[in-house]
Symmetry: C2
Subunit: 321 residues, 2 copies
């Protein structure tokens, strides 16, 4: 399963369309995140600072803030920072697991400071997330975030368990995506407004996000995704584009993933791209976004927030397309 | 810094001296811990089950329960399980960092299932700790445990930063022990009864526990500690016995830790043991325990709990002595 890619989606579009409150709140989230890298000693500061400033899209914080609305206040800002800390912790740990040299085009903590420090930096970011929420007694947010973190870890374990198994069923793949990605999006929305429909909106666009990420791992282009094509295939991570392509083309099903190298992984990407698989997965992602946007109509969110949430939903599938 | 060793300290003595409530509550903690390894899929279940049943002393849960007293109820049981989950998570991650083959005489998760799964299993245990507390809205406990987890990660990072530096000052070593060990003991006590003096009791016996652990790394015997003598030295972890021995004997100060192998590490242990360092560190640990027990007198705990807490305090320094 690929991780979020290098270039922000239409975050700018969302900010442009928003009135003052959203950029202001996002600025407060950013300030809170920076605070986390101070008071840690010099070298640790450098590691967490590097992780923080590598940036990323801040999609999850944005969802918290949007779902909470303009009156979300400090509680929403803290929740937004906390969910981004958990997200960053999983990225730092993922890079340890994958021995990844680069993330968003920059050296990973694991590459710069070693695996040992990276595991501990991830643990620290994770702990700080809960400390940030707990300091202010936000036990509902703690509960949501803890449950989402359990799901994340289970998803990671499922991915490892299924590694290199080209025969895994689509449903199993979707289960992994729900655990690894959709649950944190769902959590973001519910930390903003604790309504089931809000959670479903998050879950659907989270799943769409992952589907598109898995398309991008095959299609690239690397200069925009910040990583080589076929990175997931090389890690043995079987995603929907491969599953669908293998169904259509038995010679793809017969490929031994363990035997891949960078060149043959790119060739496999070309063959997957030559099938209809990428279009099919893109269509699924678009369908999820459409459903999510329809579900939004059932929620009592005002006009501006609805428009912004729709922009975020569109954004998760409009990356580089 | 060595990790907790293989054979339980006088846990039995505490249980023998206690009336029914303590063993009953500990049984509930154990049941709650087992629950965590179910519903995780087969292989994951095996990993967490192995981690759980490797046992350990359950010292921290016992402190939670004792400080909470017989009326601690389900809240205390959950807090006790949660702190043990965090403790286990750090052990699983430590074993990844150290590439450790054995823990308490059994193969580590990292050794059995690989580093990747071990990082994820640690993350899972960690998340479950917070989920366990949050489910029941215990925000004070979340707050205490999150702060202690931050300290643990910072201690781990400090240890890595100072690795192989035989010139580190005693105060720096003590700071690391406080972050890595004492804070979690302090947290255990305060999760039981949220009084500052209770926390100080925990912090002091936690520090004593670590000092004695560091003595045992030098003195062994390996058949009782479950690991080779000098394991910390080989990891580059400079502990108080080495610091004091080096002050007394410049030839010890001159040893290049990076050049050690298993044999020369054992020889270095012999030289440290030949100095007065081990006795000095043991004396310090005993002093801390004595202070902790004196502080206990200032707390309004009844006769049975005081006796049991004193037994725990004695227990942390009476391992194999």
């Amino acid at each position: 399963m690929s991780r979020p890619s290098a270039v922000p989606p239409p975050v700018t579009a969302v900010l442009d369309a928003s009135s003052r409150w959203l950029p202001a709140s996002l600025g407060q989230v950013e300030a809170l995140l920076r605070e986390q890298s101070r008071d840690c000693g010099e070298r640790l500061g450098a590691d967490t600072e590097a992780t923080l400033s590598a940036g990323g899209k801040r999609l999850r914080p944005m969802l918290v803030l949007l779902c909470a609305g303009p009156d979300g206040g400090e509680r929403a800002v803290r929740a937004a920072a906390a969910i981004e800390l958990v997200h960053m912790a999983t990225l730092v740990h993922d890079d340890v697991l994958d021995d990844a040299p680069l993330r968003r085009g920059r050296p990973t903590v694991a590459a710069t400071s070693g695996r040992g420090r990276a595991v501990a930096v991830g643990d620290l970011l994770f702990s700080r997330a809960f400390a940030t929420l707990a300091e202010h007694g936000d036990s509902r947010a703690v509960s949501l975030l803890a449950a989402a973190s359990v799901a994340l870890a289970r998803g990671e374990l499922l991915q490892r368990q299924d590694a290199y198994d080209a025969g895994i069923a689509e449903e199993r793949y979707l289960q992994r995506c729900r655990l690894k990605t959709a649950t944190l999006f769902e959590c973001a929305c519910r930390m903003g407004e604790d309504a089931e429909e809000m959670g479903r909106f998050g879950s659907q666009i989270g799943l769409a996000f992952q589907l598109l990420d898995d398309v991008l791992d095959v299609s690239g282009p690397p200069e925009r995704t910040g990583k080589a094509r076929g990175t997931d295939l090389l890690d043995g991570t079987v995603t929907l584009p491969l599953i669908l392509a293998a169904e259509a083309d038995p010679s793809i099903a017969a490929v031994d993933l363990r035997a891949l190298d960078a060149t043959s992984a790119e060739e496999l990407c070309d063959r997957i791209a030559a099938s209809r698989a990428l279009d099919q997965v893109r269509a699924r992602a678009l369908e999820l976004v459409a459903t999510a946007k329809r579900d939004l109509l059932r929620l009592s969110v005002d006009g501006e927030r609805r428009k912004l949430l729709e922009l975020v939903a569109d954004g998760v599938v409009q990356r580089y397309s």
